[in-house]
C-alpha cells in the first residue's frame, strides 16, 4: 500500500509505526494466551524476584510474572484506547459535520453542548459514570470517548464550514446531488487527512488517560492487569522492587511516543502541499 510505504519512508513515521506494530503484536500474543507465564496465577515462593532469565522483568508481591502481566496490560490499554477513540471519532465527526452543514441554530446548540463537555476533565466524568455503572474498562472507554467527542467535533467543524462554501459543493447542488452524497463524498472525503492525524494523537492521549484512570482504581479492576494498575500496585514497593514500576512506566511512555511520532509523520504525509499523487 502506497500509504504505508510513505509512512515507512518518513523518519519518525518509521519509528512510530514500528512501535505500534510491536505493541499490536504483543497484545495479540497476550490475548492468545501465549505469555511466558500465567499472568494471573500467584507463585508465593517467587515473590519480588528481580529480572532474571526465568522472569525477564521480575515478579510482583504475589509472585506473578511482570512480563506476562505487561503483555495483557498493553492489550487492555490498547482495547480501551482504540475503543474510546473510535467512538469519539464517529460521534465527533457526525456532530461536527451536522453542526457545520445545518449551521445557525443547530451549529450553536451542538457546539455549545460540546463546549460544556470540554469543560469536564476525564477523571471527573469517570467518577460520574462510576456512580452510575461502577468501575471497569467500560467506564474508561465511555469517559475517554465523551472527553474526545468535542475535540473531534471541533476538528471536523472548522474545515467542514470552509468546504461547505467551496464551489464543488455548489456544483454538486446544481446537479441535484443529495445531502447525504455531498456530506460523504465532498465533505467527509476531504476531511480524512485532518481526521487521521487527530485520531493518532488522540490514541496517545487515550492511552495515558486509561493508565491514569486505572492508577486511581477507576478503570481496570484487579486482578486483571493494566498498565496504570501495575504502576499503582508497585507504588509502595518502589525502593524494594524498582522493576515493578520501571517496565509499565516505560511501556506507557513508548506507546505514547509511538502514537505521537506516527501522528507527526501523518501530518507531514497528508499535508496538501505534499500531495503529489493521490493517496
Amino acid at each position: 500500500m502506497r500509504f504505508l510505504q510513505a509512512l515507512f519512508r518518513h523518519p519518525s513515521g518509521r519509528i512510530g509505526a514500528s512501535i505500534i506494530a510491536i505493541y499490536l503484536g504483543v497484545a495479540l500474543l497476550g490475548a492468545l494466551g501465549l505469555t511466558p507465564h500465567n499472568a494471573l496465577k500467584q507463585f508465593p515462593i517467587d515473590r519480588l524476584k528481580p529480572p532474571s532469565l526465568l522472569y525477564l522483568m521480575g515478579t510482583d508481591l504475589l509472585g506473578r510474572d511482570t512480563l506476562s502481566r505487561l503483555m495483557l496490560g498493553i492489550g487492555q490499554s490498547l482495547v480501551v484506547a482504540f475503543g474510546s477513540v473510535a467512538i469519539a471519532t464517529v460521534a465527533g465527526t457526525v456532530i461536527g459535520l451536522l453542526a457545520a452543514w445545518w449551521g445557525s441554530l443547530w451549529d450553536g446548540v451542538l457546539m455549545r453542548l460540546m463546549d460544556v463537555l470540554l469543560a469536564f476533565p476525564a477523571i471527573l466524568l469517570a467518577l460520574l459514570i462510576i456512580a452510575i455503572v461502577g468501575p471497569g474498562p467500560f467506564t474508561s472507554v465511555t469517559a475517554i470517548a465523551i472527553v474526545y467527542t468535542p475535540i473531534f467535533a471541533r476538528v471536523v467543524r472548522g474545515p467542514a464550514l470552509s468546504l461547505k462554501r467551496r464551489e464543488f459543493v455548489d456544483a454538486a447542488r446544481t446537479f441535484g446531488s443529495s445531502q447525504a452524497y455531498i456530506l460523504t463524498r465532498h465533505l467527509l472525503l476531504n476531511l480524512i487527512a485532518p481526521l487521521t492525524v487527530q485520531v493518532t494523537l488522540a490514541l496517545a492521549w487515550a492511552l495515558l488517560t486509561e493508565a491514569g484512570l486505572s492508577f486511581l482504581g477507576l478503570g481496570t479492576q484487579p486482578p486483571a492487569p493494566s498498565l496504570g494498575l501495575m504502576l499503582s500496585e508497585s507504588r509502595n514497593l518502589m525502593q524494594h522492587a524498582p522493576w515493578l514500576m520501571l517496565f509499565p512506566g516505560l511501556a506507557i511512555m513508548l506507546g505514547i511516543l509511538g502514537f505521537n511520532l506516527t501522528g507527526d509523520a501523518l501530518r507531514d504525509i497528508l499535508d496538501p502541499r505534499m500531495q503529489g499523487r493521490p493517496a
Partner: protein
C-alpha cells in the same frame, strides 16, 4: 555610445529549487531601459514575466529563486553603476524603494489591514527619505493628492478595508511614489480591478509618468492594455523573450509567431464589429428560460426585531433566453451578475420574482460552469467519479450507458480517454475547465450558465475554450447564459448582451447593437474603458464616478423601471435625470 541606460539586463537566468541551474524559469532575457522609458512585458502565466520583474530588485530571493547567470546593472542616482546580481542585501535595501518602486497585483494583500493608510504612507517616507512627524504627514497627504484621491486629508485616517479596490491600488502607487523612484515596476497592477477602475489607474500612471519622468516596467497578460502606455514591448514565452521592439512596430508588424498569436487568436474588443453572425434570434421560438422581476436581497445589520436594511444585490431583473442563443450578462464586480446565476440555479434564495424553465428534455434543464476550475472540482475524486456525479444525483446507475456518455463528452471537449482514471490536479487550468464543461453536459441540459467560465484562464487557452463552447452550442443546441466582466470575450460569444449596473439591467439587446451603439451612460462608460490594440491612441480621462451603495433601509422599494426602445431588439433603461 550615449549615456548609459537606467537599467541593463543581459542574458538573465533565474532558477528555483535545490538545483537552480537545472530548474530555470528564466532562460536568458536581455533588454535595456532608458530613463523615463516605459517597457511593457507581456506574457501568459508561467512565461516568467513576474520572475523577471522580481529579479530586477532581487525580491526573487525571498521567493526561493536564485540568479544563475547573466547580469543586471542599475544606474544609480549619483551616476554610479550597481551590479544588482552581485549586490549584498544591505545595498539592495537602499535600492528597493529609493531607486526602484514596485506595485503588485492584489492591493488588499499588499496593505497591512491593522494600520491606517496614512501611517503606511508615512512609513514609506520615513524609511526612504528620513522624513518624520508632521512633515511626513504633510508629505503623505500631498502624495495622496497626487494619485487623485479626493478628500486626501480625511482619507489618511482610513483603514485599507474602508477603501475600494481602485482606491487601495492608488494608495499602493502613492507609497511607491513616496521615494520618487526612477523606476517603477508594476506587476499586473490592474488585473484584480474592474475595467472602468482599470482605465482610471492606467490614466493615472500615464499622468504620473509625464509628471515625474520615471521609467516603468509594466507587466501584464493583456497586450491591448499596454498598447496605449508603453514605449517598447517585450513579449515573453516559456522563460524567453521571443520578441521585443518599439510599440507601434511590434503591434503593426509582429515578427514572431507567438506575438502574432497574441494579437490575432486572442479575443480583442472591437466595439461590436466581431459579434457572432450565426444563430440570430428567431421570433417564433419559445423561451427556454424566462426570468421575471427577479429580486435578491441580503439582510444587513440586526435591528431589534428585524434587519435594519438590505443589500439590493439584484433588483427587478427580467429577461428571456431562447434555445440555442447566448445571452451575455456583463457588469462590474458587485453589479449582481453572479447573484442572478445563483438565483436561477437555486443556490441562493430569491426574495421575489419568477424563474421558469421551458419544457426541457430532462429533469434538470439548467446546468452551470463555475469560474474557478480549481475550486469547482473535488480534489479527492477521480474524473470518472466527478463525471458520474450528475448521473448518480439523478438516480441513474453508473452503467455502460453513462460511461459511454462520459467518453463521448471527454472526446468532444478534447480530453483523452485515459483521463477517466486521473485526478483533477493532474490537469491544467484549461483542461479542468473542459472537464467542468463535460460534467455540465452529462445530464444533457438545454441551458448552461457560464459564470465567468473563462476568466481564470490564460488568454490563448481562453480563446480555445470559447471556440469549444461555440462548437458545443451548435452541436447540442444549447442556450448559454454567459456571465462575464470581459467585454472582448463577450463580444466573441454572445448573440445578445445585458448590461448590469448596481443590481439592475440598464441596457439589453442584440450584441452588435449594444456594443457598437451603447445608449445608457454606464454602458458608454464601460465600453469606453475597455482597452484594445485598435484604440490605443485614444486617451482615457480620469473618471472617478463611484458605484452607488446597494445597501438600502428596510422597506425601501426602487421606483419602477421605465424603458425605451433604441432599435430592433435593443432596450435601454431611462436614467433618472433623463
Amino acid at each position: 555610445m550615449t549615456a548609459s541606460p537606467l537599467l541593463r539586463v543581459r542574458d538573465l537566468r533565474v532558477g528555483f529549487g535545490r538545483q537552480p541551474a537545472a530548474n530555470e524559469v528564466l532562460k536568458g532575457v536581455s533588454f535595456e531601459l532608458a530613463a523615463g522609458e516605459t517597457l511593457a512585458v507581456v506574457g501568459e502565466s508561467g512565461s516568467g514575466k513576474s520572475v523577471m520583474a522580481l529579479s530586477v530588485n532581487r525580491l526573487v530571493d525571498f521567493g526561493g529563486g536564485r540568479i544563475t547567470g547573466g547580469g543586471i546593472e542599475l544606474c544609480r542616482r549619483d551616476g554610479s553603476i550597481l551590479d544588482v546580481t552581485g549586490a549584498t542585501e544591505h545595498d539592495l535595501r537602499h535600492v528597493r524603494g529609493r531607486d526602484i518602486g514596485m506595485i503588485f497585483q492584489e492591493p488588499m494583500t499588499s496593505l497591512n489591514p491593522v494600520h491606517t493608510i496614512g501611517r503606511q504612507i508615512e512609513e514609506a517616507f520615513r524609511l526612504n527619505r528620513g522624513i518624520t512627524g508632521g512633515a511626513a504627514r504633510a508629505a503623505a497627504r500631498e502624495v495622496l493628492e497626487r494619485v487623485r484621491i479626493p478628500d486626501a486629508k480625511t482619507r489618511l485616517d482610513y483603514f485599507p478595508h474602508q477603501l475600494s479596490g481602485g482606491m487601495r491600488q492608488r494608495v499602493m502607487i502613492a507609497m511607491a511614489l513616496a521615494s520618487s523612484p526612477r523606476l517603477l515596476i508594476a506587476d499586473e497592477p490592474t488585473t484584480a480591478l474592474d475595467v472602468t477602475v482599470q482605465a482610471q489607474i492606467m490614466a493615472l500612471l500615464a499622468e504620473l509618468r509625464a509628471e515625474t519622468g520615471m521609467a516603468m516596467i509594466f507587466i501584464t497578460h493583456d497586450i491591448g492594455l499596454v498598447a496605449g502606455i508603453a514605449d517598447r514591448i517585450l513579449v515573453m514565452q516559456a522563460g524567453l523573450a521571443v520578441e521585443q521592439g518599439e510599440t507601434t512596430r511590434l503591434l503593426d508588424h509582429p515578427e514572431h509567431d507567438y506575438t502574432r498569436h497574441l494579437l490575432k487568436a486572442v479575443p480583442h474588443f472591437s466595439a461590436g464589429q466581431a459579434t457572432r453572425k450565426d444563430g440570430k434570434r428567431d421570433g417564433a421560438a419559445l423561451p427556454i428560460v424566462k426570468v421575471e422581476g427577479l429580486v435578491v436581497r441580503f439582510p444587513v445589520g440586526t435591528g431589534l426585531f428585524r434587519p435594519k436594511g438590505a443589500v439590493h444585490a439584484v433588483d427587478g431583473v427580467g429577461f428571456d433566453l431562447l434555445p440555442g442563443e447566448t445571452l451575455a450578462i456583463v457588469g462590474e464586480s458587485g453589479s449582481g451578475k453572479s447573484t442572478i446565476a445563483r438565483a436561477i440555479l437555486g443556490l441562493i434564495e430569491k426574495t421575489r420574482g419568477r424563474v421558469t424553465a421551458g419544457a426541457g428534455h430532462t429533469r434538470r434543464p439548467i446546468q452551470m460552469v463555475f469560474q474557478d476550475p480549481f475550486a469547482s472540482l473535488n480534489p479527492r475524486l477521480d474524473v470518472e467519479s466527478l463525471l458520474a456525479e450528475p448521473a448518480v444525483a439523478n438516480r441513474q446507475r453508473r452503467d455502460a450507458g453513462v460511461r459511454d456518455r462520459m467518453r463521448l463528452l471527454l472526446d468532444r471537449v478534447g480530453l483523452p480517454q485515459d483521463a477517466l482514471s486521473r485526478y483533477p490536479h493532474q490537469f491544467s487550468g484549461g483542461q479542468r475547465q473542459r472537464l467542468c464543461i463535460a460534467r455540465a453536459l452529462m445530464l444533457n441540459p438545454d441551458v448552461v450558465v457560464l459564470d465567468e467560465a473563462v476568466s481564470a484562464l490564460d488568454v490563448s487557452v481562453q480563446a480555445r475554450v470559447l471556440e469549444l463552447l461555440i462548437d458545443l452550442q451548435r452541436e447540442f443546441g444549447l442556450a448559454y447564459l454567459f456571465i462575464s466582466h470581459d467585454m472582448a470575450v463577450v463580444e466573441r460569444i454572445s448573440h445578445r448582451v445585458a448590461v448590469m449596473y448596481a443590481g439592475e439591467i440598464v441596457e439589453i439587446g442584440d450584441a452588435a447593437a449594444v456594443l457598437s451603439s451603447p445608449q445608457h451612460s454606464y454602458t458608454r462608460r464601460l465600453i469606453a474603458a475597455v482597452p484594445s490594440v485598435d484604440r490605443r491612441h485614444r486617451h482615457f480621462a480620469v473618471d472617478a464616478t463611484q458605484v452607488p451603495s446597494l445597501v438600502r433601509p428596510a422597506g425601501y422599494e426602487p421606483a419602477a423601471a421605465r424603458w425605451r426602445e433604441a432599435g430592433n431588439d435593443h432596450r435601454v433603461r431611462l436614467e433618472a435625470d433623463a
